[in-house]
Subunit: 680 residues, 2 copies
């Protein structure tokens, strides 16, 4: 196809003349340091026979200036709380990051690791994976996520500075982003938020290389990106990304700015490659022996593969120690700080000593009062207990605050002028919200929870997936969780969303049945530190089903809510707003002499992790009926081959909720009838 | 919470003064017509005790000018092919659309329908639902979708004009969008595309009312939206949305423009409401009797609920006939057009007579040659057969053309200057791509197919859901469909995506095993006119497993690929790239005297729709083993209580593909061992 970049032809590649001009400039120390990145990136990709050399080669000069002059870090302690955060949003250029970690002397990224780039169990994975090396701030690769995550980091920095003061918290967030990052919709949501909050310590270095996988970006991308970011309230600048002085001057300008900054770094992708530079050919595959040899010759790089001349390595390691003194001073300030222990606790993700006391009191109250509430309202009650007790909890909503009930009286909103608040008005930006929440958690010191309708979890899915993959805490309050929302109709009625997230590894999907279970599920969600939790909550009121407050019964994922009066003939298994239907059906069946148990199954993932003995005891051997106002996909796991499912088989409809439950046959009568038919 | 809009207080609501000033202007005919919309919207929401009166009341003046002066339509035939398309992206304001359809004399939207707003089986559903009334162009409600869908409609118009000429195809796309639409990320992707392609016949009327659900939009939204759209290459203008002359002048300007246009219509939400106008209080709930009475009094509207004075109704019906003459002339041109039959065929969604002949030839060739190909390459072969035979097929890729293999030699790309092409470089905009594809299908005359990695289907999910809900054809080519993609690692390796879409109603998920099945699945996907199809395709090469080309065996969703040599002791059920592992395991087991069948299950949804007799015959009574390089969620449906699943239980990893299959235990040996262990 004519529009796909052709095999590069040196004589027809205009980037090569520009490259020659740059190579002809007097060599600088910065260029020599940058060439070390280029050489390692080339070697890593070549050894793996897979990867993306073009981006590290193109952005090496920018990254070198950042890591040798601006970024605040100390290679001796990559988890230092007040370090600047560096996010490689263009995660495919992972060898850039691994080379930097290696060169600056970070432990755990030796030459052996680089040689095992993209191999099983190597910390140098295909894309940067959070947890594989302490110097990796976040997992990136799916485009747009890194830049949106970084907005959350920059927000977290402001919020912690408001809480603990600038003597403990005063750092920047630097991002390298690609054309692809800026084409993704989530970049709009994130940039708009950053502009609104005037996050002046956020600086995005845009690798403006004019090349994406299909060829010249002009094939599909002709935005005036700088103007677009100005429209968000950012300060912008355009520079030659191969000129160390221009780069340094722009970074200095960024650090002085009162707005978030975007620096368009005009670069040549694959800089140094003799024929593939400036083309998509250098983007996503090993260069090949000839091109590698040519590149090293052009760059004047004579060291063997994976080795770096001593003077260059020494200069890089000195850069890696640049922040050591600053860190020592900071440690001294921390030691003297009145909130030292609290700061350490919050940053470590450990909950406060007495965090669940108010929640325990609330559960006791629920047991006594048995309130009839929508679980979204029960959730608000739980938050009223939790939020004052857990100062790192920060809530929000994507413009549905009153509907999601995620606000807590007396807790002020976060505004551009007041980062001491603890409630975010995210705007209609679900995706940006979820990604920024990941950034808050990764930054440390914050436990974020969101608010939107369950159906709009679809918009957040790529970011929730990253939270699951990284194994980090993020809590999503997802209300209006079934046809029970009524008149808004099928566009707003989730039917497949529970299943779609139950299918996603490492996500806990909670669907509590009443006020008590809602409090219990909140307790479990807040306690969970190794992955995201979703709370699916009803719009409609639900009767209280529990009067025991001792044990957190949701902690086993599922339990017998009401045992049969004799040997079980049926077990009704339900979640959320359908549990009370099961309870009503049980009453009828028992009255007709059919001993029936009701099982509440608020969290499948936790229940699945229980021992088989417990699971079998709960589910029993009698006829099993599943009840959930959602499609049945996945229910076979609990119902077995002969189980009966009472629920949805397709999309919902627009009508008052009670009519819909009747229309779709999700009623206590339907459950009763199904059991009797089976037993007949 | 202080930042939530307080209960409106007339004395403290600055919008009321502005409203009074507007109401004091000399009454115009346009205002009287607009008040009919307001009154009906108020009455509809009041009767339903649910809905969104604020938006229709605010945008009534803009809509009136559009429907009485600019929109090309004929109420007598809402499906007239060359009508202007009107998209209510702010779908919550559905009463605006229903009122307009009613007032202009469209059949099927009588006063009885308006009275049943938001009731079961009413065409006047909570949000506009495609298919409920022929005047509803698309389903809207999830914010951002309508504006992105409209970009696809505007693209389709250009493409069909290129194919059939301006005498048949020459219409505009008008969109009403809210603040929320413009906050959503997909609006960025869509607007950027529209600017790139200079879609000058697209006009977005932004309801710039400064209010969203949480209160003043300034809480979270301070973009300079006009500047942002200028950065995309749009022409922009700001007007008073209650001034009919300004509105008309801006629309006239839009029709003359060479760029897509954004008109910021400054309006007062809930215009007419005596205390709630200009506040979030008028957005999402019935106004209540007192406010309704006050509003009608302010507007001077004395007619009873749901009725419209005769002169006003007559004026509206005349507007509904405005396009009748234009339509008659167009019908005459069509009757004389050399491509009349072809135009009708393409617009109706009917495939060409001989559309599958080349595909049949390809299948015969595959049967003979048994090529070892990645299914993404087999897919390209299928496209090479299909695309020349089906002129309405339009392909594309979200910047992964070479990886998705969605391009066909000799088929030119669509460029801003050439809409005669049939391949879209969508850029890194998966969400915008999927939504615009919906718009292409809805417009008619195009069968769109996309390209991206399966893992990035997460980005497209809200738009795919709408295609499923609307029941419209859209084909998504999703390559790199498992850990088989290797080194890119877990961010790029889908493990839960098959399950997550199998859970979504009305989506067909195809996962073919070899070149033959790929051709068969393509045939089924193209034939399917009532919902979206996803094709999950491998990066890695796969052996050919079939040598029969007669019957399309995928047409039953699953089938016995290899029967056991004796009474079955095991049935191995697999999809896609794991079917050949099952075949290899079968060979071993048969050699060891264990009669084993292999079932290929390329499309669960079709298989589930077969009669139970066929399904049982295929699946058999022997031990069942499922094999799929994905998580097992949902497999219980086919495996039963005692089945064994060989697949993933969590996220993948970065390493060469063969190593990953070994690492995760998805091998023929693992399948063999599992069967033998069970039978032991």
């Amino acid at each position: 196809m004519a529009s796909i970049a052709p095999t590069p032809d040196a004589s027809q590649n205009p980037a090569l003349a520009a490259q020659a001009e740059i190579l002809a400039r007097p060599a600088t120390d910065s260029r020599r340091l940058a060439d070390a990145i280029r050489a390692l990136a080339i070697d890593g990709v070549e050894a793996a026979k897979s990867g993306h050399p073009g981006m590290p080669m193109g952005m090496a000069d920018v990254a070198t200036v950042l890591f040798t002059k601006f970024l605040k870090y100390d290679a001796a302690d990559p988890r230092w709380a007040d370090r600047d955060r560096f996010v490689l949003s263009a995660g495919h250029g992972s060898m850039l990051l691994y080379s930097l970690l290696h060169l600056t002397g970070h432990a755990g990224m030796g030459v052996e690791e680089l040689k095992r780039f993209r191999q099983l169990h190597s910390p140098a994975a295909g894309h940067p994976e959070y947890g594989e090396h302490p110097g990796i701030e976040t997992t990136t690769g799916p485009l747009g996520q890194g830049i949106a995550t970084s907005v959350g980091m920059a927000l977290a920095e402001r919020m912690l500075a408001a809480r603990f003061g600038a003597s403990l918290v005063d750092h920047r967030t630097w991002v390298i982003a690609s054309d692809g990052d800026l084409q993704e919709g989530v970049s709009h949501e994130a940039a708009s938020l950053a502009g609104h909050y005037a996050l002046s310590k956020l600086c995005v270095l845009w690798d403006d290389n004019h090349i994406s996988i299909d060829g010249d970006t002009a094939l599909s991308f002709t935005d005036d990106t700088l103007k677009r970011f100005q429209a968000y309230g950012w300060a912008v600048r355009r520079i030659d990304g191969h000129n160390p002085e221009e780069i340094a001057s722009a970074m200095a300008w960024a650090t002085r700015n009162r707005k978030p900054t975007l620096i368009a770094c005009r670069t040549i992708i694959g800089f140094g490659a003799p024929t593939k530079a400036g083309t998509a050919g250098s983007h996503g595959a090993a260069l090949g022996a000839t091109e590698v040899a040519g590149a090293k010759e052009l760059l004047g790089w004579t060291a063997p593969a994976f080795s770096v001349p001593e003077d260059i390595k020494a200069a890089w390691e000195a850069a890696g120690r640049r922040g050591a003194g600053t860190r020592r001073s900071w440690l001294k300030r921390l030691a003297k700080h009145p909130q030292e222990a609290e700061f350490d606790r919050a940053m470590s993700g450990k909950l406060p000593e007495a965090w669940h006391e108010s929640l325990a009191a609330l559960r006791a109250k629920h047991a006594e009062e048995k309130p009839k509430l929508a679980t979204r309202v029960s959730s608000q009650r739980a938050l009223e207990a939790l939020v004052p007790s857990v100062p790192e909890m920060v809530g929000g909503s994507a413009d549905l605050t009153g509907s999601n009930n995620t606000n807590v009286k007396g807790i002020p909103a976060i505004t551009p002028g007041n980062f001491g608040g603890r409630f975010m008005h995210w705007g209609v930006r679900e995706h940006g919200m979820a990604a920024a929440m990941n950034g808050m958690t990764l930054h440390g010191g914050i436990i974020p929870y969101s608010g939107t309708f369950l159906v709009f979890s679809d918009y957040m899915r790529p970011a929730i997936r990253l939270a699951a993959l990284m194994g980090i805490r993020a809590i999503h309050v997802l209300t209006h969780d079934s046809i029970g929302l009524g008149e808004d109709g099928p566009t707003h009625q989730p039917v497949e969303h529970l299943a779609s997230f139950r299918a996603m590894p490492n996500v806990f999907v909670f669907r509590p049945a009443d006020a008590m279970e809602t409090a219990e599920c909140w307790e479990l969600a807040v306690k969970r530190a190794d992955g995201p939790s979703l709370l699916a909550l009803s719009r409609q009121n639900l009767p209280a089903l529990r009067s025991d407050a001792g044990e957190n019964r949701c902690a086993r994922g599922g339990y017998v809510l009401a045992e049969a009066s004799g040997p079980r003939k049926a077990t009704l298994i339900a979640t959320g707003s359908e549990v009370h239907l099961a309870v009503a059906a049980r009453e009828t069946l028992e009255a007709e002499g059919i001993p029936t148990a009701v099982v509440s199954l608020p969290c499948w993932e936790i229940f699945a992790a229980q021992d088989a003995g417990y699971r079998n005891q709960v589910l029993g051997d009698a006829v099993r009926v599943g009840v959930e106002a959602a499609i049945g996909f996945g229910w076979e796991r609990w119902l077995g081959a002969d189980g009966i499912f009472v629920g949805m088989s397709g999309f919902g409809a627009s009508a008052p909720a009670e009519e819909l439950f009747k229309h779709f046959g999700i009623t206590a009568d339907a459950v009763t009838a199904a059991v009797k038919k089976r037993l007949a």
